[in-house]
């Protein structure tokens, strides 16, 4: 067991190749679009969006719920890997965590922009203001504020705790190369980690504890989003099953994104040794299972929805599934539930050219499901006349495309600046395999 994790550190210290620069430039251009779209909302107000009555949420909540779903499934995967101690290469958890963090950052922007006057978002905090106003704790919108905030903080902590020892490795590698400025930067972020056995012991306890605490938080983040819909009187949303539906149908998005990222990263950074075929196989099976679970949620939706006594609710579901909402609904079912079933075929699971498109399309399918809920759910209401249709504007598309670019940029920076896989866990695992071999 010699210098087996050096390539991981070196991948982060090497100057960026042209591919990286190209990707960074593309993501940068997208972020410019994001800035322009945000500026349009801030300067001219939410009227630049296609929102209207009854479509008060539109693109904003679609993208928010979608990003939260990606963050949740990615964190769920990372936390489960940390909690099961043996048997698997836990190294993949690092960029699952990074993806969750990038997704939650992209998600957090939407509800704030959606306020109309985003600079007043502080009003959701309970503090004694000169206005005498206080938040209403009975409202799911207030729960959502706490949900997003806890999600951002806990996901960042989870990522950072795991990263501390690897930052110390980066510090030592950079110092060896004589890059003292980089070494100092990594050293400060590593908080002076010196690999003390006693420190490791407490570090592992804290890491596993936070991983365990992330799990109940994930269930809750999507549940709160769904409750915002469920507490309205809109027939398609006023459903007790909505939280379960949103949590379960969200899983393929995060797992699809992590799978696609894993496939791209191991090739781009030559990390095949650290993210091996078994990891890819497991991820692909997980995506297929998530698709299956989402399929069951869709089946349950149809079964329960059409058994409903209230004709308005049945009518709303029919319009969403077979009427005007059919394209989005069918797209969602096909892409996020049916397409991942391909991955049950073992031969396809390890082929990059198959898993990347399947993963990305599964995420796109979940976006269509969110569209189907948010926009398709308003095709029928208790009132006979429903109002104008919803057509997203350029500013909204810019916001969506821009947030995808921001996500890509954050991940590119993570891939360049910090080790892409967990080095200490890889070292640990390799030493254990060696010890087992010696015993035999």
């Amino acid at each position: 067991m010699s210098d087996n994790t050096i390539p991981v550190a070196e991948a982060a210290l090497r100057p960026g190749a042209w591919g990286f620069r190209l990707a960074m430039a593309a993501a940068g251009a997208g972020v410019v679009v994001l800035v322009a779209s945000v500026a349009a909302v801030l300067v001219r107000g939410v009227a630049v969006w296609g929102n209207n009555i009854p479509h008060v949420w539109g693109f904003d909540l679609i993208a928010y719920a979608w990003w939260i779903g990606i963050a949740n499934a990615a964190s769920l995967f990372a936390a489960v890997l940390v909690l099961r101690r043996h048997g698997l290469r836990t190294a993949v958890n690092r960029f699952a965590e990074a993806a969750a963090l990038a997704a939650i950052l992209a998600a957090a922007a939407y509800p704030i922009l959606h306020l109309g006057r985003p600079w007043l978002f502080l009003w959701t905090l309970p503090y004694p203001a000169y206005t005498g106003l206080w938040p209403q704790f009975g409202s799911p919108l207030v729960w959502d504020f706490w949900g997003i905030m806890s999600h951002v903080v806990v996901t960042s902590l989870f990522w950072f705790i795991g990263l501390i020892p690897d930052l110390a490795s980066m510090r030592d590698r950079a110092a060896r190369h004589g890059r003292m400025r980089a070494a100092r930067a990594y050293g400060i972020l590593a908080l002076g980690w010196r690999g003390s056995v006693a420190h490791w012991h407490r570090h592992q306890a804290a890491y596993r504890l936070v991983a365990a605490l992330v799990l109940p938080l994930l269930l809750w983040a999507q549940t709160v989003v769904a409750l915002e819909f469920a507490t309205t009187l809109v027939p398609a949303w006023h459903q007790a099953r909505l939280p379960l539906h949103v949590v379960v149908t969200g899983l393929p998005s995060g797992l699809g994104v992590v799978l696609a990222l894993a496939a791209v990263l191991r090739q781009a950074l030559s990390l095949e040794r650290y993210v091996d075929e078994r990891d890819m196989d497991l991820l692909a099976r997980l995506l297929a299972s998530a698709g299956l679970a989402a399929g069951m949620a869709y089946a349950h939706e149809l079964l329960v929805g059409f058994l409903e006594e209230d004709p308005t609710t049945r009518d709303a579901l029919a319009a969403r599934v077979f009427g005007g909402g059919a394209p989005a609904y069918c797209g969602a079912v096909l892409l996020s539930a049916v397409l991942p079933q391909l991955l049950w075929l073992g031969a396809l699971r390890t082929r990059t050219l198959i898993v990347v498109p399947v993963g990305v399309l599964a995420a796109a399918g979940v976006w269509l499901d969110r569209w189907s809920i948010v926009v398709g759910g308003l095709l029928r209401d208790h009132m006979p006349a429903v109002g104008p249709e919803y057509a997203p504007s350029v500013a909204e598309w810019g916001l969506l495309g821009g947030s995808v670019a921001l996500f890509a940029m954050v991940l590119l920076l993570f891939g360049r600046l910090v080790p892409a896989v967990s080095m200490f866990e890889t070292r640990h695992e390799e030493s254990e395999t060696e010890a087992e071999r010696e015993e035999r």
Binding site: F137, I161, R194, S196, H201, H203, L209, P216
Partner: protein, 179 residues
């Protein structure tokens, strides 16, 4: 110019097992001021050093409870006393509706306390430490395992301690001095 007194002696190993054995030997010899370093967790050595991770769980539990009480208390105080809103005569103290924020804030506090508690118990952040002066210490973050016997321990004596460490068949034993 007088030379800075040594901080202690560092023995270097290339596997976790000899490190664990060395820690055991040092503890049996009565050493109290010692520290072991490794590139990944070595729980057996940590147990021999008498380190327990249990306090982190208690810190997180305590902080979670405080966070929950604060969140529920704020929701109750705001909704019942400071800013009561009558919604169709429903009770002001609608405690089930306060539970979601209570639950979220409890998890938030528990997670933050687990990290901060871990850092505090470890005495981090601390950017300077005698161990960093040891020769080749940077390899601890890669593939080396070290045992450090501090000069502050009453058992410390430059010669006999070095002899003791060499008896544990390390790769090398070196004196740790400030620059």
């Amino acid at each position: 110019m007088t030379q800075h007194p040594a901080f202690g002696l560092m023995a270097e190993f290339d596997d976790p097992e000899p490190l664990t054995a060395a820690v055991r030997a040092a503890r049996e010899a009565g050493w109290r001021r010692l520290e072991a370093y490794s590139p990944f967790p070595v729980p057996e050595a940590a147990e021999l050093l008498g380190v327990s991770a249990a306090p982190i769980g208690f810190i997180a539990l305590g902080a979670g409870a405080v966070g929950a009480v604060l969140a529920a208390g704020t929701a109750w105080y705001v909704s019942v006393h400071v800013y009561p809103v009558n919604v169709g005569g429903r009770p002001l103290n609608a405690w089930p509706a306060f539970m979601p924020t209570t639950y979220l804030v409890a998890i938030l506090w528990a997670c933050a306390a687990a990290l901060l508690g871990m850092l505090a118990l470890n005495g981090l952040p601390r950017l300077n430490h005698p161990a960093f002066f040891a020769r080749g210490f940077h390899r601890v973050s890669e593939d080396r395992f070290c045992l450090f016997l501090s000069a502050e321990d009453p058992l410390y004596d430059p010669e006999s301690t070095a002899r003791f460490l060499r008896g544990l068949s390390p790769l090398r034993v070196s004196e740790v001095r400030g620059a």
